[in-house]
Symmetry: C2
Subunit: 423 residues, 2 copies
């Protein structure tokens, strides 16, 4: 399959430059990108009519299948929310649920121009299977679980999914220091040594979580994981709202990414991460939506606006975090966090994971600065097309994922009603 | 013209209840709303297919024509921004510009489900004329201007536009206390006494503005305007980030609305208004986008999410400002702020200013709580139709405003390039 995208404005994300040009996609990868219109025979020619082509957004922290909990317990306190609303409902999850619940999230990612996510949840194999079916790029956390997922099972998942050109791969993770047991730390240590994969975990999301770890271990959560050598192969921490300067040194030493989730941290009143200091320290910062129960949208435009807006407030300085830095967080920095070296910038040989931004939406007009328009006035309605691995999965508001959308909604609604009955 | 909207979910905003029903629109007003499908002959029947019909959003503070400054000077300090970027470019505005520049903003309002705005800018008559042409409901500030708009001219505007069923009306305003001169205060006093219209102004947006007023006048800006009796006919203040408890007493005494602009206050690092205290004091709080130079989107979904999110952060309490309160701010409270008694809730006899929310967008699924979905995961792409005064001005991504959209963009782009040359 050979596709020509002609007459586009192109932002490769190798630099902030935008040029008028054309792109050829050969099967799943980019085979040409340049200013001269290529000749030849194409299976499909799309006139971009001066719309912008850029890399898709990378959502570096989410719990996709939590769609069934969206809008279920907003405006409640964190403790109530977790222990009385979320946990008892999650206990109802049985085999086959995550596979279905994931679908609504994948549709929302596509509508927001997201072409890859780093997901962490129960039944990760079901999540990976849905991604494969849809053709959606993902990285899942392989996590040890005493009851359902022994070390051998995680190793089996890694072996099965981490094959060349796989669209759904695995890395190693744990939920967090504060939910970890000695047994879990030992199992995770084995997994990291065996696979040499990077490590991912929630870390210092709230003040109390961080303080309680210091009380228990005389170490911050980051120091504790460092003492276990869990980040020796790199990886990422999710949230990082309460990091010490020593934590930042460790983060830099192992080239760990901090995935910030501004909406979730705001909505759950966790706080505002110090992104300015992290960037000034040279840390790779990526963006995540977190799950639909805590955000509640899976919308990278929201995260981009908030990550810069909240820094401006935190520092009482409107200069904080310029637009191109934000766009990097939402794209190439996310690719780095997820180890997607072939799905980052637009370049010959890379996966064709790209989006078309509709420049004729009123919020993209007039054109003083396209990058500022994207970050400060962009929204989901500006996403005209989403392509992953050379396949158009979303265009002009329609989804092309090989399934009837109404059927997906019906199944998820029925599961939602079933799972939300607390037993 | 008689239109039937059938098979809808209906949220009247008289209460949080949502019911399945039908609506008939006769010319510009609602003539039926109920659960029984009406019979008869209709010029147009729209099957809503279980999508939600609700009142359009009311944007209670904006400067529409500032579209030419969108993305022009982001990430710069407030003083630089105003004095080196905004003011010199606004000085280039000449007759005929505001009429055109307004159009892009009106399109964006329609795409965001906004059916009325309270606008404040130069050349207000040009703004009102564009609203009339498009069929867009607006209220403009009639403001005295030494050079261009004497008291008699403002009175003439009020007389010409404030006629029964007018879609574009005028109230009385001033930019702010800190830009006011004795001459302006006197002229405004005359206008208020002559017209008995309510009064609108920017007030206590920044800490320094508020402190400097106290230094100069031994009064807060609110106390000063109260001493002049400017709020004796009611009205609204824009921003109100730094209000004292005495200010709030004055606000309550005159039933003044506080229009909060969370995005703008965040992006310009002005601060977070204390909305929780205002609501607890029984103040009418409405929502505004502010202008496209300071926000930069004209998107009520963004403002709804932020007004509750930022309160959760400000109070470090995720319970702050429940979703239905937020939806009231974005609709009926805005109508009250603008004096639009006939364009607030959905009810027989009221203007048909309403929107259809596409419940088949992934961020609206599954359905646990439609009001939470709107506030926490809603976005522009969920707006399927926008109707003002019984006329469909936006549907399925297309605009119906009697003009070619590409031509509008071309003219505005050319004006933008011309006006942004600082002489």
């Amino acid at each position: 399959m050979k596709i020509l995208l002609k007459n586009a404005k192109i932002l490769t994300m190798k630099n902030p430059e935008i040029f008028d040009g054309h792109i050829v996609i050969n099967d799943e990868r980019i085979s040409y990108i340049g200013k001269v219109l290529p000749t030849g025979i194409f299976d499909q020619v799309i006139d971009c009519e001066n719309n912008l082509i850029m890399p898709g957004f990378k959502n570096a922290h989410t719990h996709s299948a939590m769609t069934f909990l969206r809008s279920k317990a907003d405006d409640s306190s964190l403790h109530d929310w977790l222990f009385n609303e979320i946990f008892p409902r999650e206990a109802n999850l049985r085999e086959g649920c995550v596979k279905e619940l994931t679908k609504v999230a994948l549709l929302e990612y596509l509508s927001s121009g997201i072409t890859a996510v780093l997901d962490q949840y129960f039944f990760p194999q079901e999540f990976a299977e849905t991604c494969k079916e849809f053709g959606f790029r993902s990285v899942s956390l392989g996590m040890y679980d005493k009851d359902s997922r022994p070390v051998e099972e995680v190793l089996r998942l890694v072996k099965e999914y981490n094959v060349p050109s796989s669209i759904a791969t695995f890395v190693i993770g744990m939920h967090s220091e504060y939910t970890g047991t000695d047994e879990m730390f030992e199992a995770t240590d084995k997994l990291l040594k065996e696979t040499r994969l990077p490590f991912y975990t929630h870390l210092s999301e709230t003040k109390s979580e961080t303080e309680e770890c210091i009380k228990r271990r005389k170490m911050t959560p980051m120091e504790y994981f460092d003492s276990l050598h869990f980040f020796d192969n790199g990886g990422a921490i999710f949230h990082g709202v309460y990091l010490s300067s020593h934590d930042i040194e460790i983060i830099k030493k192992h080239d760990v990414t901090v995935v910030t989730n501004p909406s979730s941290n705001m909505k759950l009143a966790s706080g505002i991460a110090d992104i300015k200091t992290l960037l000034n320290s040279g840390v790779n910062v990526a963006l995540g939506t977190d799950g639909p129960a805590s955000n509640n949208a899976l919308d990278m435009f929201r995260e981009m606006y908030l990550v810069t807006g909240l820094q401006k407030l935190r520092n009482m300085d409107p200069v904080s975090i310029p637009a191109f830095e934000v766009l990097k967080m939402a794209t190439v920095n996310g690719s780095k966090a997820m180890g997607l070296v072939d799905a980052d910038v637009l370049e010959v040989g890379k996966f064709a994971d790209l989006i078309m931004i509709d420049m004729s939406r009123p919020s993209m007009q007039p054109i003083n600065n396209i990058i500022s328009n994207l970050v400060y006035s962009g929204s989901k309605d500006c996403v005209k097309m989403t392509m992953i691995g050379g396949k158009i999965l979303y265009r002009d508001g329609q989804f092309f994922v090989g399934e009837d959308i109404k059927e997906i909604y019906k199944k998820v609604q029925s599961l939602t009603e079933e799972l939300n009955v607390i037993k």
